[in-house]
């Protein structure tokens, strides 16, 4: 069998590479879209950052509202 540039093995490898690339790009796009959707529809984005913040404590907020 002659060794050519376009061997069957190259076509299989190319098929795998292109398929995997499309799958990965699709997955990244989906995770990005999900992130945007969650951020748009989500609750407060603030969180505790190393120190206690009374304004973010639901119990504390309820106590102050009484």
């Amino acid at each position: 069998m002659a060794i050519t540039r376009e061997h069957e093995l190259h076509r299989r490898r190319s098929s795998r590479n292109v398929g995997l690339a499309i799958a990965l790009v699709g997955f990244i796009a989906l995770v990005f879209g999900l992130t945007i959707a969650k951020v748009q529809g989500g609750a407060s984005l603030q969180a505790f950052d190393h120190s206690y913040r009374p304004a973010l404590d639901p119990d504390n907020v309820r106590f102050q509202q009484r």
């Binding site: 299989r12 795998r16 398929g19 879209g33 999900l34 959707a37």
Partner: protein, 324 residues
């Protein structure tokens, strides 16, 4: 240089085309999963961001595909023997069993975690249970142990609309259970109608199929019995929030036809069936495909029609079944 082989018929890691890995995921089964999961998701009360809904459908389908890959890995020995399955990627030598196992396990984990993150934990858990059910309970245990394998295995195919529903609502309701039961009860008569006219070689693979273990007459009786059990489930769904007058009218017609077909199958014997080339069995099998598709289409139609105030007022006159 002794490591160069010109023989391409063997499977080595990394030799497959991308399409061979896709074939491991059973794309035809995935398309049914996408349709029923989408129906469950669209008819559920509440809303989901379109991207979250898209992600939910993709990961439910991917989870179903992963269980298909695990099934092909486990059943490679059976697939090699049977004519219908010997061209699947593993018996055809295109993909190694280890690759199929890796793909199945990897996609299972990815789909479950991503569905959980995209929607909720219960939907993720149900998808994980579906994969476990199909790969372990059905493929590894029941398929080779009992002729009722198809009945219990049908549960795996019945979960997707329930997962779609749970993805939106976060809980299981009577509607989700009825959609599950509709597919669950439909699977045995659908499959056994096919088994009656398909000369399969399950016996060669030592898989106990009802037609072989208990005979064709018993199988005919089973088709009728399961159709009788299916009818009340299909009609009951008409009296829940996913049903309505259009669904109920369609379900009445479809179930009457299906029941008539199952009755006709039961009335026949092998001599009659062979004389007309299994015409009734083939007709019932083809009809069973339309039966399920039209039921779920009717659920979708009801969800759309609910936006029309006139129809909504008319539908409100139907008594509602509220269990939990």
């Amino acid at each position: 240089m002794t490591d160069i082989r010109t023989d391409m018929s063997y499977a080595a890691e990394g030799d497959a085309r991308f399409g061979d890995y896709v074939a491991l995921l059973k794309p035809r089964v995935m398309s049914l999963v996408v349709f029923t999961a989408l129906a469950g998701l669209l008819v559920a009360p509440g809303s989901l961001h379109p991207i979250e809904a898209l992600a939910a459908i993709i990961f439910i389908a991917l989870g179903a595909g992963a269980s298909g890959a695990l099934n092909m890995w486990w059943d490679a020995d059976i697939d090699r023997v049977m004519k219908r399955t010997m061209k699947r990627p593993i018996p055809a030598g295109k993909v190694t069993p280890e690759e199929a196992l890796g793909l199945g396990v990897g996609l299972s984990g990815l789909s479950v975690i991503m569905l959980w993150l995209a929607t909720n934990a219960l939907a993720g858990f149900l998808l994980a249970f579906t994969i476990f059910f199909y790969a372990v309970i059905y493929s590894m245990w029941l398929k080779r142990a009992t002729p009722q394998n198809i009945v219990i295995g049908g549960a795996a195919g019945a979960f997707p609309p329930m997962i779609g529903w749970v993805a939106v609502t976060g809980s299981i309701s009577v509607e989700a259970c009825l959609m599950f039961l509709l597919i669950f009860m439909w699977t045995p008569p659908h499959f056994w109608a096919l088994a009656l006219f398909m000369k399969s070689d399950y016996h060669k693979a030592r898989v106990p199929m009802l037609t072989v273990t208990h005979g064709r007459q018993v199988t005919r009786a089973h088709v009728l019995a399961y159709t009788l059990a299916l009818v009340p489930v299909a009609l009951m769904a008409g009296f829940t929030s996913i049903g309505g007058p259009v669904y109920l009218a369609l379900a009445l017609v479809l179930n009457a036809i299906f029941l008539q077909g199952a009755w006709a199958i039961w009335q026949r014997d092998e001599a009659q069936a062979e004389a007309d080339g299994y015409a009734t069995e083939k007709r019932v099998f083809r009809f069973s495909l339309a039966y399920l598709f039209l039921h779920f289409t009717a659920f979708l139609a009801e969800a759309m029609l609910a936006y029309l105030p006139v129809y909504a007022a008319f539908a409100a006159r139907l008594p509602l079944l509220e269990v939990f």
